[in-house]
Amino acid sequence: MSEPTASAAAPPESRKWTFEFPSAVTTLVIVSILVWLAALVIPAGQYARDADGSPIPGTYQRIESPLTSGQRVEQLILAPVNGIYGLLSPVRGFVDTGTVGRLFGWRR
């Protein structure tokens, strides 16, 4: 889609640049993978939530990560699907497509 603009902007002036900035889609795929890798290292934790779903300051607690390594790989692959169709289950605190509820309800 951005193909024509890229080639229109490219010709003589930007010939000097050897580094072509990747498009937002590529950037976000890289960011997804980096965040997923970081999540392997960062310990899991939880805030208590009020009625609106906002975290309450000072109630943070470390918890055991609920995911097996197989489920973690599944999370990376399904991330774009969950990103558009996933809903936050208030009970499990988990975003997936199996939850029925408000549209965009997980965006607190």
């Binding site: 889609m1 937002a24 960011v31 300051p57 996933g86 607190r108």
Partner: protein, 163 residues
């Protein structure tokens, strides 16, 4: 116009929205990864420590500045919002800054970055049509950008301080 042509034009119009839609769902996916691995709250907790000492005005200005590099990476405002908001809104609650003010600060940061971002289609295309080099454009426009940034930072700082 023939019936088939109309349908084709509608499909072509819908295809134009496919790029932004892909940005949206991938950006949403990033925060889903953080939510489902339960690491989002850990990161919030780390930032909560930083914020507790800071004033509301400082938080609003930092929000504006921190979103500028993000806007370079993700020129689509919807995608940038989907990525930043799950973290920004609880942080604003912690800092005692109202959500509308936090969104204004985010939006000003995003808009300021897009005025100069080479990843912005409007800047890239506009400069190509006007046959102005990007470096030349930057040299011309930076005093304006600096001035706008000072005004924007002052505005969000005052808004956040007044609540």
């Amino acid at each position: 116009m023939k019936e088939k042509e109309i349908v084709q034009l509608i499909a072509a119009g819908a295809a134009d929205m496919m790029g932004p839609a892909m940005v949206m769902l991938l950006a949403g996916g990033v925060s889903v990864i953080m939510t489902n691995t339960q690491t989002l709250d850990t990161i919030l907790h780390a930032m909560e420590q930083l914020i507790t000492g800071a004033s509301a005005g400082a938080f609003a200005v930092v929000t504006l500045l921190a979103n500028i590099p993000l806007a370079f990476l993700i020129p689509s405002s919807s995608g940038h919002a989907a990525l930043a908001m799950p973290m920004l809104s609880p942080l604003a609650d912690f800092a005692g800054v109202s959500r509308p003010t936090a969104i204004t600060a985010w939006s000003l940061g995003h808009g300021l970055a897009l005025l100069a971002s080479p990843t912005n289609v409007v800047v890239g295309g506009g400069l190509a049509i006007a046959k102005v080099g990007y470096d030349q454009y930057l040299r011309f426009v930076w005093p304006l950008l600096a001035g706008l940034m000072v005004v924007a930072a002052a505005a969000v700082a005052i808004a956040a301080t007044l609540g």
